[in-house]
Symmetry: C2
Subunit: 291 residues, 2 copies
Amino acid sequence: MRYPEDKRLLVENALNDFSSSGGKYPKLIYEAMRHSLLSGGKRFRPVLLLVTAEVFGANPLDIIPAACAIEFVHTYSLIHDDLPSIDDDATRRGRPTCHIVFGEDIAILAGDGLFAEAFYLLAEKQMVDNPNKIVRVIKELSDASGPRGMIGGQVLDVLSTGKKIDTDTLEFIHTHKTGKLIRASCRIGAILAGASADELKAVSDYAEYLGLAFQITDDILDIVGETTSLGKEPGSDERKKKATFPSIFGLDRSRELAKEAVSGAKKALKSIDKNVSPLINLADFVYERNN
Amino acid sequence: MRYPEDKRLLVENALNDFSSSGGKYPKLIYEAMRHSLLSGGKRFRPVLLLVTAEVFGANPLDIIPAACAIEFVHTYSLIHDDLPSIDDDATRRGRPTCHIVFGEDIAILAGDGLFAEAFYLLAEKQMVDNPNKIVRVIKELSDASGPRGMIGGQVLDVLSTGKKIDTDTLEFIHTHKTGKLIRASCRIGAILAGASADELKAVSDYAEYLGLAFQITDDILDIVGETTSLGKEPGSDERKKKATFPSIFGLDRSRELAKEAVSGAKKALKSIDKNVSPLINLADFVYERNN
């Protein structure tokens, strides 16, 4: 495994700091936010952001608030996804979900609070040489997490659960629900590091393939994985009648598709005249998860 | 009534434009967002933002995206407040609430979508002479709508419903749940118009008094108002055992408190060397609502 553990640790510590109540009242909202935020995991999106920024010449230490903002948004989306009226999940990353511990009302508000704090982190804590970069980054994050991004994918997922769907719909759900935020992670890292327009395009292509590979391997792990590595109980997609790559293409073909997506990701990096090996390693990490 | 109807109309038209799906898929999320967003009302917060900006020399036409962003956030908060697990309201502004029409899952996501779009409007649509202004505005909006603002007040409201609370708790709920966004409306208008630090301080004081007056008169209208002017059925606070100014202080004393708050708002404007009469008119409008 070639995962950049140093960056994961940086993120982990910063998430703890940035979500502290600092004595603020009411404490309960911070407790609920932290329950879901500080439950471990690979921190894939913020690590991807930091790795991308470093490839384009930034110091990861300077980009931590933006990396944490991405994880705040990801965690908020998980809290809302897990709610009884949406996916109705009682466990996540091996722990009871936010609404199980704090109630549905507080869980909704904890998600809302994390989403607000993501933008606060960017506007207040992320230092930059040029404020235009922050405006661009906020545009990326709001676009990727709203109706044209994550929320759009989530809506189609809700509408499709329990129904037979075609591959176009499956692709739309995944490119939006998971893909857009992964793409934004790469783009935000690149923007903050001052990547050129061509580099930004190349890294966006990489991220689209990477997001697809990530989703396929996630679907595969839901069938063959163990609870410990998956963070949720295997088989939950099938129980919930979710459309997945294996349910449409079968396991073997899904593994091939994951492999193709990882190759596509690596190929997209070829035009970048920088040392892109940390991004290649991350693509390998995503593929190796299912082996 | 001295309400700036011209500005309300500007906002109304822009809200319609900014929430259009533009052919985007899935259409349902835009329909759910628009159901709640385009249900009329005074548009008090965006109008307050435009009026404040104009007082400090900006052209309201240049500030419309920021004004709409505030209304997006306000509407998102109403959608989530109305959910079965929070206030469980079936009507709002005389219409069925979002979850009644679209289901709880889509209503949660419609709120989330509006919140994301608020930041997108600021980062993508709001033109400024200096990008630092947008960063400051996004800091104001995210701070006012998160755990230290609206969400904090909402959490305490949830925790207090059905309980006997003291006046400090009542004040905390209102200054946060309603007050912070009203304050942010004034501050964002002033920041975009280039107000000085002293002017910003004065207009923030004004907004805090105004927000208090707004909340007290809202509570009074819930008792004495008619459904048409209130947009919700009178008596809902009492039915839900919400702590309100009349429930703690009685109607007569609440009217006095509203009057004092309006005087405080006007007094706060005295240090501003501009024509502040549009802000004075808005304060009078808030007070006259309950007479």
